[in-house]
Amino acid sequence: MKRVGVFICHCGTNISAAVDCEKVAENAKSFPGVAYSTDYKYMCAEPGQELIKKAIKEQKLDRIVVASCSPRMHEPTFRRCIESGGLNAYLLEMANIREHCSWVHPDDKERATIKATDLVKMAVAKVMQNEALVRSTIPITKRALVIGGGIAGIQAALDIANTGHIVDVVEKEPSIGGRMAQVDKTFPTLDCSACILTPKMVDVANHPNVNLITYSEIEKVEGYVGNFDVTIRKKARSVDLKACTGCGTCIQKCPTKVPSEFEMEMMDRKAIYTPFPQAIPNKPVIDRENCRYFKSGKCGVCQKVCPTNAVDFTQEDELVTERYGAIVVATGFDLFDESVYGEYGYGKYKDVITGLHFERLLNASGPTMGKIKRPSDGKIPQNVVFIKCVGSRDEAKGKAYCSKTCCMYTAKHATLVREKIKDSNAYVFYMDVRTPGKGYDEFYTRTTDQYGAKYIRGRVSKIYEKGDKLIVWGEDTLLGRPVEIEADMVVLATAMVAKADAAKLAQMVGFSYDQNHFYTEAHPKLAPVETHTAGVFLAGACQGPKDIPESVAQASAAAVKVCGLLSKEEMPTEPIISAVNEAICSGCGMCVPVCPYTAIDLKVIQERIHGKTVSRKVANVNSGLCQGCGACTVACRSAALNLKHFTNEQILAEVDALCL
């Protein structure tokens, strides 16, 4: 005889203001199987939990229903509670009478009470069908993978490595450093970006527990938490990293010039190159698409001048497979394509540039040696106009979201214009100034009050060339009139967008992304670095627009999650996964493509039928990969697949309880 205990929580007044909790508890006493029913003000608090534990013992309860908030909130709490009370954790059922009832029906207590009673009735019916489930364990490979070698990836790698775990950092570009390496100064302190980044780059490169795998990409990811098998494509560098001393003679002698991606194409690099002087590894790579030797078979100068014979034209891409316990994804961001703003003439007018171009113009090792000069004619601009929210907060042409960093870096740019160019004017067109961050608003105030940047609230409608000037038309919405500025240079604060191949990587690793292709965290507040896929964590702007401090903080948080995972020899698995009834499985394979976690494959089993051994295919669920989403159970035509804890029978019992 099953004995169900029902516990109705008031949640202070969150529930009891709209639901008559005593009455629900009273009603529950009559439901089949219920041996005990009561209510309490805060069931999740210590006395509430004690109440449950005591009742389990005294009333000899063998399964429990808690009617309170969402299971996302307190299911783990009550599972632990009944476990310590001596019951299997999966003999608990929660009825959500807060989010699903009291909060949405605050004005009709009578009917809300009826609804709460129904919800409890369903939970009782389900818990009667619940079975004790046992968590199994899987071993954990004590090695972490960080995808992306920007500031977030570097920080995560260092933090993981410092706890003694081995970390591989895979970076697509020839050097680590990422976007931060392109930035000149950082807000709100105006300290030099390279000065704080490059020591970290050196640290990570020299760390005994870190392996840098640059100029490489993720090719394939298989496996699951604790045991990801990752195939990495090491692109042919054409330079033997072991032999190369980084002397740079090859770069000097290379005859082919190519616009430098790192310098936003405002300066040339060679076909054999390091992206920037402080690159790590500080050893060159041959850009085969532009190299004269690879294009025509002639040249080979770099090979001839190399004193250590490190240049190797015959190198080929290499595929390596490694097993990892956890993955940190820190792939960063791209810039919005601002050419959709025809009215700004980006691409048409040379002196309309993006903020990242401007960073390079400010940088001492950039194309202008740190002097702010116009790309068109090298003149020093007197009037610089900044336009914020180019692509951000613009549903018509760009993205709906705020890119978060632009207000601050534009303030920084305006400050530097006023500081570096005598008698200059910095005009900033803005929609709002958003500076929530430590020391941020003070920085902005300094930009306007001390440095005298002129902030104009309004959008720019048009930019056109007149002689060597850029005429900027905009609106000052505070004065309510149009403004016209003769500018020498216009800097667009372009939106941060997800990497062009962000979706591809997410699909390969197997986690989710949003409509903007930013990676989705498991919970926006309480699980901001986790993904819905166990063992995969997020750091930096791949999850959404972020500045440096935030990226670093998230990277350290992700590192802690990784270390937590790697600190164990093995980990328990969630038993709420699909199970196959092999007797009725026809092996049709419909479930295989449906599974978003590639957890199902077909295996061959052998049976004896009428004395003969027959082999046939049946579905096989990998318990490490299955996340218990239940998609396969819907696809299965013979109902051979059933999701434990949410079996067809359990769901039907709930429906029957409500409808019959």
Binding site: V340, Y341, G342, E343, G345, K348, A396, K397, K462, I463, Y464, E465, K466, I471
Partner: protein
Amino acid sequence: MKYAYYPGCSLSSTGVEYDISTKKVAKSLGIELWEIPEWNCCGASSAHLTDHLLALALPARNLAIAEEKGLDVAIPCAACYARCKATEVEVRNSKEMQETISAVIERQYTGKSQARALLDVFVNDLGLESINTLVNKPLKDLKVVSYYGCLLVRPPKLGFDDAEDPQSMDKLIEALGGTPVDWAFKTECCGAAHATTKSEVGFPMIEKILTAAKETGADCIATACPLCMSNLDMRQTQVGAKYGQNYSLPVFYFTELMGIALGINPQELGISKHFVDVSGIVKKLNEAAGRRDTA
């Protein structure tokens, strides 16, 4: 290629040469235009300032007639096009609106028949290559600034070209053998009816466009809107006098330039209706053609 043709009121009055040149050019290009019988006013700005339903119902009647014939509607006037396009989209997106409007106009209109700007039809349906092969009097050495006005390529989501820096008319000029001149005032507002009702607002707007066009060194302006034409052409002397300028900048409907390039006698295209003298340009083009013929 066959389209229903909706000329609208301007093309039978101030913009009659737009109508004449459109018909001549279409015929020459082998495009059949079936003029919607007993077409009514599109409502223009008056209707949509008065009543939303009225603003949709007026164009809907014309579109419904075209739909009965299974034809898309080619519309030269930018304002008519904008009103018709707005109606088409609203009807297509709302079953309820479709029923309301059909009840009002006592005809079925489902939004299947589409409102198309004439420029869009020429450039994107017929295609620049086909047009280019039919050119026999190229607009040689003629520098043209294309003026699209405020309505032709907007709103951005419905337009057939970039709403801020459109290219289709420029490409058409190039296909006609002319030299398109890039400028930043392609979609600047000409002031619309303000030139008539509030000249202190309207005239400076016209002045900006004419000055900018003059500064590019262009020989003429091409437009696709009868009201833009009125403001830039008819008002040009008046505005010039007010600002102490002598623009002498001929303004053409793009269809007139097409007609000339296709070898139609300019006089047959209605260019004698213009206020600003275009004879200089016609002469220049004739001379160029003459040189080519004798060469």
